[in-house]
Amino acid sequence: MTGSDVTRSGTRGERPGHEAAPGSLQPGGTSPGAGGNGNGGKRRGKRGKRGEELMVPRAEFQSYYGRPVIKAPGWSSVDIAGYFYTGGLAGAGSVLAAGAQATGRPATARALKISSAAAIGVSTAALIHDLGRPGRFANMLRVIKPTSPMSMGSWLLSAYGPAAGAAAVLETTGWFPRLNTLATGAAATLGPAVASYTAVLAADTAVPAWHEAHRELPYLFVASATAAASGMALATAPVRENASARHAALLAAACEAAVVRLKRRRLGMIAETYRQGKAGRLMRAAELLTAGGALGAALLGRRYRGAAVASGLALLAGSACTRFGVFHAGIASAEDPKYTVVPQRERLEQRYREQAEQREAEHAGDGEVTDGDRPAGGGATAA
């Protein structure tokens, strides 16, 4: 239709008059603000009951008819939150298994090796199941890419999986004890990375509830993984061997509680997504189950096998709730444009304020400011 091109020697074939300023945009036309307040800026019903806790006093914001700015991941919660959970259970389980083996707790070691192998199998299966093209899973191993946590994770799984599997098989069959020790050691070395890299996988996205928590999520994930693995140990091992699992559970529960609080403080208004709706229910359940499991194990797990099993199951369930809670908080934060727009707008305003101050200081300095250095991108220095 048009032959307009931008070339090195200028523009060719422009439409006549396309440099005009449309009349509706000139003074007398209307100006900004409407887009959101009428349509998009509507508040969701779900906030409200805790409105007074907001770090951001006025969540007035503009959006395009309330539609999300970013796309929420298309991942299935069962697959991907399940993959986080089972990966953590496996990774931390391998560390506990190695510790149990080294300190003469054979029943614990055996149970955890088997659970780790099973969990990493489930984890990998969930990851593959969630692919749009599961048959192309092997493409994950086409490149090694440190900028892609999923690439690094795939390589990690392909090293850790066989080690954990070998440790489990050799433990149950009793073959090649030395190889068993080697596999156990390898799994225990890679295990912590398996438990923590999934946090980077979640945080390395534009999803506000995950990305803005990128400092805390790895610690939350390893604490949750340790809680799950020690829960597994409590549920499967005899009472006389479970002292270390009880201690690990207490430590993990304490750390998880601390990290959750730290994260909440750091996140500001985005923290709502961890308190409201499905994510809020899951996070509260996780807190209760993890704390209850750890305390139950500490108080009663030393004496009563039944109490140890129940505490272990509570810890396992608590860890699962944490992972699903984090997952759903991320989805909620992606689906509401508020969590994308408001923090970014604040960041921008802050930057404009600083720039204005700087300009003023320069002005005071020599009176001559080189205009035009700053691109004209910031028409919106709302006071």
């Binding site: 209307t30 599961p134 999923m150 390395d204 700053r374 919106a380 220095t381």
Partner: protein, 353 residues
């Protein structure tokens, strides 16, 4: 190749992404892009149609959104150009939102263009330029903002960074393209994109997005949307030229009294290192459904890996502490108590930050 600046690989200004992606410095064509001047967009959607036609994108629903003339909704796997319609009137306009446009405009507009003090505007001071001027029969003035959105082909593209298969790649033109024969549909690029552009196609499973008509570029042609745009709202060309051109256009509009005209995504200093497809907007970006201050998520990746490493070590340390503090089942007691003392320093598992 050897001159790659490691600091600019993840964020910050990067003058030549194609070279940093491994193309020969002198052997690749100039970086190209789109400049979408929304001030002349008439909302005809020729770009949407041309894009669908040329790229043979499947139909993805003929539903009505009921919110405006925009029945496309948003960019996605099967929508690579999306025309946004924003209807604004003085009635729905938020109070004082333009008040801030003043100082910024005053600082950036050229000499002789005191854009804040628009002559002939009867508006009271607090309303800024273009405040409510009722029509002859008492109606308030209405305006439509229309804007054709597209993949931004970021200088630092999060989708490309996080793609685990290498399916997403940087072309010799500096654009970002998905190789459909490689993509395994992991969907990681979808939440990574700070603009919500790329998406998985439900029945297909793989991720799709604008290719800036890679096939046409190779033949020396302009992309289908730019070709079809009847008002030159979508302009295609070498990115440097487009940036110059866009700055001139903003000046021109401001001289004409359009104080709210501003560029979006053209600044190489921004969170994504500048967009390959940038815009001239007449309102805040979020009004158009664009993020006000997008940042490539991988900017923070080194810190994330550092925290993950520290977390992994603290897992090891924590479990070690748990074993050292528990009485051994069949071990000598002495070593355990000594270890117990050693394993109880301060805050257990070292929650760093």
């Amino acid at each position: 190749m050897s001159e790659i600046d490691i600091r600019s690989l993840l964020s910050g200004p990067e003058p030549d992404p194609a070279t940093d992606a491994g193309y020969d410095r002198d052997g690749h064509p100039e970086r190209v892009g789109f400049f979408t001047d929304t001030s002349v967009c008439i909302g005809c959607k020729a770009c949407e149609v041309a894009c669908k036609e040329w790229n043979a994108i499947p139909e993805d629903g003929l539903s009505l959104t009921g919110m405006s003339y925009d029945n496309t909704g948003d960019l996605g796997a099967s929508t690579w150009r999306h025309v946004a319609f924003i209807e604004q009137s003085a009635v729905t306009r938020g109070p004082g939102t333009t008040a801030g446009a003043g100082p910024e405009t005053g600082a950036t507009a050229g000499p002789g263009a005191p854009a804040t003090a628009v002559p002939g505007t009867a508006a009271p001071g607090d309303g800024g330029p273009g405040a409510a001027v009722p029509g002859p029969d008492g109606r308030t003035e209405l305006r439509w903002l229309m804007s054709s959105d597209v993949c931004k082909h970021c200088t630092h593209a999060a989708c490309l960074d996080v793609c685990p298969t290498g399916s997403l790649f940087r072309t010799e033109f500096g654009t970002v393209v998905v190789q459909e024969d490689i993509c395994n549909g992991c969907g990681y690029c979808v939440p990574a994109c700070p603009y919500g552009v790329i998406e998985q196609r439900p029945q297909d499973g793989r991720a799709f997005k604008c290719t800036m008509c890679y096939d046409r570029l190779g033949e020396g042609q302009e992309p289908a949307c730019a070709k079809a745009c009847p008002t030159d709202s979508i302009q295609f060309g070498p990115l440097d030229e487009l940036r110059d051109r866009a700055r001139r256009r903003v000046e021109q509009l401001k001289d004409a009294g359009v104080a709210d005209a501003r560029l979006y995504g053209e600044d190489p200093e921004d969170g994504v290192g500048g967009d390959g497809a940038f815009f001239l907007l007449l309102d805040d970006p979020e009004v158009y459904g664009l993020p006000p201050d997008p940042v490539v998520t991988t900017r923070d990746l080194p810190r994330m890996w550092a925290h993950a490493g520290a977390a992994a070590l603290s897992l090891l340390g924590g479990v070690a502490a748990a074993f050292l503090t528990s009485p051994a089942v069949r071990r000598r007691g002495g070593s355990v108590t000594r270890a117990t003392r050693a394993a109880r320093p301060g805050p257990g598992r070292g929650i760093g930050r």
